[in-house]
Amino acid sequence: MVMGGGIQQRAASPMIRPANLPPPGSPGMPRPFQSPQIQNRPPSGQFASQGQQTAPGSPAINPMGFMSGPPNGQNRSQPPTPRMQHQQQQQHQGPPTSQQLHQQHQQPLHQQQQQPLHQQQHPSQPQPPPQFGQHQQQQQPHPPMGQDLGLMAGPPTPTPQAGAQKSKRLYPAGINAYAEPPAYETAPSSHGFQHPGVPASHQASGMQIQPPAHGSQFFVPGEKQAPAFRQPVPAYQQGLQPLQGQPVQPNINQLAGQMGGMNLGNAGYGGAQGIVPLSTVALMGTAPKIYDLDAPPPPIRLPETASITQSPFANCDPSYKRSTLNAIPATSQLLTKSRLPFGLVITPYRSVKEGDEPVPVVSDSIIARCRRCRTYINPFVKFVEGGQRWKCNMCYTLNEVPSSFDYDSQTQQPVDRWQRKELNHAVVEYIAPTEYMIRPPQPLVYMFVIDVSYPAVQCGMVATAATTILESLDRIPNDEGRTKVGIITVDSSIHFYNLKAASGEPQMMVVSDLEEAFLPQPQDLLCNLSECRPVLEALLNRMSDMFKDTHNVGNALGPALNSAYKLVSPIGGKILCLQASLPNLETGALKMREDPKLLGTAKESTLLQSASSFYKSLAVECSKSQVCVDMFLFGSQYSDVATLSCLPRFTGGSTFFYPAFTAAKSEDALKFAHELAEFLSQRIALEAVMRVRASKGLRMSAFYGNFFVRSTDLLSLPNVPRDQSYSIEVSFDDNLSIPVVCFQTALLHTSSSGERRIRVLTLALPVTTSLSELYASADQVAITTLLACKGVERGMNAKLDDARDALTNKVVDILGVYKTHMTASSSGATPNLQICDNLKLLPLLTLGMLKHVGLRGGSQIPSDLRSYAMHLLSTLPSQCLIPFLHPRFYSLHDMPEHCGTIGDHGIEMPQPMNLSSERLSRSGLFMLEDGQNIFLWIGRDAVPQLCMDLFGVPDYQSIRGGKTTLPTLETDFNQRVNLIVGKAREMRRTSYYSQLYIVKEDGDAALRLWFLSHLIEDRAEPIMSYYQYLGYLKDRVNSGSF
């Protein structure tokens, strides 16, 4: 509850942005913006030191010292002497009641009212006794603050001289009123007096915040006080960071009421225990609450002033980058203790669909970066020294702020730096200047390598591919008219095509010397798309006829890829390889190595590893010259996906696999055509490198996804396809002593419109010392994504058994630690299995992984399918991976009326159900979709009316099972189901096109089993059902074997 409020508050807080600031560039300008930081920094510093140095609740961190005020209302009438104050305080040093807390929070207000009044009454007496007493106490919490400020928040005016010298500039914004008490003592000059006078008069007049007209006669930026005073208010309402509760609050009365209700005082100062609501749920005995699969990750509870702008976009959207832990443990011991995996899931180049926020672009090529760690400026840096410099939030180096942040030299106008996109958005793109290019931005290059051997022609792949490419020529990105296209066909010899022949007819050149494949002519094999369009069209039109009578079963993929590489490597680009037979000639020849005897044994992983070193070494070569290889594999028989997917894996490409493809089946052809067309029309990024930087103390230790790791942490991606996800494991170098940790991903790339750009994603996360907060902030979806990658890696390199055991062990560890440290029953057996609310689906998702084609045991799964599933598991973004592991299951025969109609949010989908065959009924119609396939399950006793309405056939017997397309009928039910199927195909950011299968209850046994294998809550030999699995986990946890 508290959390939700906080988030709303945060989202609604843009009004807090210091909008009414003086024009930047004026000398005294930037300081006021710092005021929030300075005000709020002490609490966070206090917080950190508190966690590390002192036990919670010890006197050193007694709230009183911090609150620093006489604890009762007496001084409203007459200021007590210092000694009196002291005594009163000591009386209250016990655990404060909420009433006391009220008073304490009100107290500072009185001080504020009193203090200036007093000073005005005795102008000749700069330090009246009461104030003096206060200051001593106020100073007590200050040393840590001073330290902290030195580290993070700029010039804290620690010494009297500095304070006096700088007071002119630093003065406004009411900083001194409560954040810099030493200023009263050291600079009781006109500033010292006047300044507190202003807020006092405000508060006296009913705490209304308004720009003081009279304030400006003493110091010009008087208006700035408004934001400064309003700023901290949300901190109270939010209740997330109660430490920020500074003594002086304008509308404290009202807030204090809320405080009592929320019991925040305790939570804030007594340690982090109470801050985060950690609701423990029991897992056993109830069906998993699958609605939460789509729930957003746990909120990121950053200090209110972590970001310098109050933009709602200041932190990274989880669809671009999410962390498995939304609160970072302060020490590696804490992380080890919690057993939670720590990593990032990054989808830097996700597609932006209609209604999504486009990525803002900084086009003036002013790129401010830290000179030490090369971090890009982001919303979490701090401006110091009056805004002249900024402090990097990763390494804390001071850097100059570029003058163009405040002054536009071209228009000769001052500009508002707070409007800059990089300070307001966590996801931005810069247009890179010349320093970021070693050569002109490369054009898009598409080199097609098409298999035209007998099996490929026979299954209709060549014809379908030619038609699809022909139809997609207009959709290939070609903004600047630079896109180049080339075609190579290959059987037992390599065929090149001159696409610029004078005659206007394509000219074919056959190279049959495979040992030393050479390019038959130096140019025109790779041609500008706009220029060679007619010839290309003529070639593609003819291609299906050219090879239709071939009986050549040889395929020399290796030499063909080498030639394609030679053609493309000077520029860099994409090689699309459409392969329907196993390469069997010269280098890169592969053998049929599928052996059913190996399946299900420990040696199975050898089938999942690459069989030929040729592909890996070619991939490394390709990666060097910015060439990306994509594989479209069509297997009527074994096609060694494991070896061939090596090329895409190291070059940032994608693999598509169509088992048992025949173009005669229109569904197969449609799926392939749709995916190829989508793939060609994707606006991809080229010649990219990606690097993730993190705050000092953290290190990226392992990388999962399709790329090549060039140096220790530089990922080289010749192409960045849309919606491909990369997982990165993070480890500790050092313990963290900072309140906020930042992760910044920079993707330097060339967009498909030929611009060199840098996409920067900044994610800031709070640091915690409490195990409960760590657990409450764990993101089960991101954890699953990371674990899937790790499982796949393990399964490929070691044994699948190991991978599965590792996954289960991880869950047991997490559950066990949770039970020991977070629940009352720390030792001994418990009847139920407990975990916090935000991790409650982790066992279910893990079970989904264990039962997934990619990792499931058993000897039934061909290695091709398994390799492909593994490829998907390690590259799908979370949004698609979760349904892939835990399919969506809908009941269609009894869905409510509004489902399948177009509502406020597009097409309304029915409620998803638990994946259990209990839900199936004999007369029902059910749909199950996992992003790759859609199954329509129809029960044996389906009423004829349903068959009639949906399929247009009289009864159940006449329905044909298997791969199919739903007919389009005039009936309402048919239209609704068609809409739902259509929505299921396009509701995620992916270019995969789900194939529709109709499963009859008594139909094809293999298909039925396949469908049933998706119902992961059921028992499927040899893997347990969900409840059995929970029981197994419980036994492991209870026996303490973690």
Binding site: P433, T434, R439, P440, G481
Partner: protein, 217 residues
Amino acid sequence: MVKTTMIARVSDALPLAASIDDEQVEMELKEYKSQAKLIFRKLNLNSEKRCSIESGSYVFHYIIDHGVVYLCICERNYPRKLAFTYLDDLSKEFFMSYGNEIDRPGLRPYAFARFDTFMQNTKRMYQDTRTQSNLTKLHEDLQDVTKIMTKNMEDLLYRGETLDNLQGKSELLLRDSARYRKTARDVNLQALYRKYGPPAIILFVFLLVIYWRFWWY
């Protein structure tokens, strides 16, 4: 033959377009391309409008037209006349296509990379020096190439450096001579002591003896 072509804005050396070369050329010309970038940075609107610069086994030819510099790197034996005709062709086409966009503020680097297509085609026309059209161009008096200045890359690049060297050396000389002067004075003084020291001491002792002998009592 023309190896590579680069187009840049003179005022700030912002690259506008460049030809995309195959890997072999890229490897060969790595060093020369960085030299070309240096040339871009040294040029200003008052530089010579046409010039050839020799460097190693290659020659850089450039022309400046409407604030844009067109530079190509050719082999030494490639006729200068053809090279400059090629650059003229480029400049005409470039100015016609993008002339009004050149001075737009906030132009990104390689904004006109699409000009590459035209460059590739034109380059191919000039590839072989013996085709009829190229021979005609050679014989026509389109360009008076003899007047175009030829410079040496080393001169161009290292002129500043020699000046720096000279200054450094003279400073060194100054320092050395000061030290020499000091040492010389010391040595002179020592020689003086050595020469007149012993007689002076003897004289002093003698006088002391005389004084002691005759005036003491």
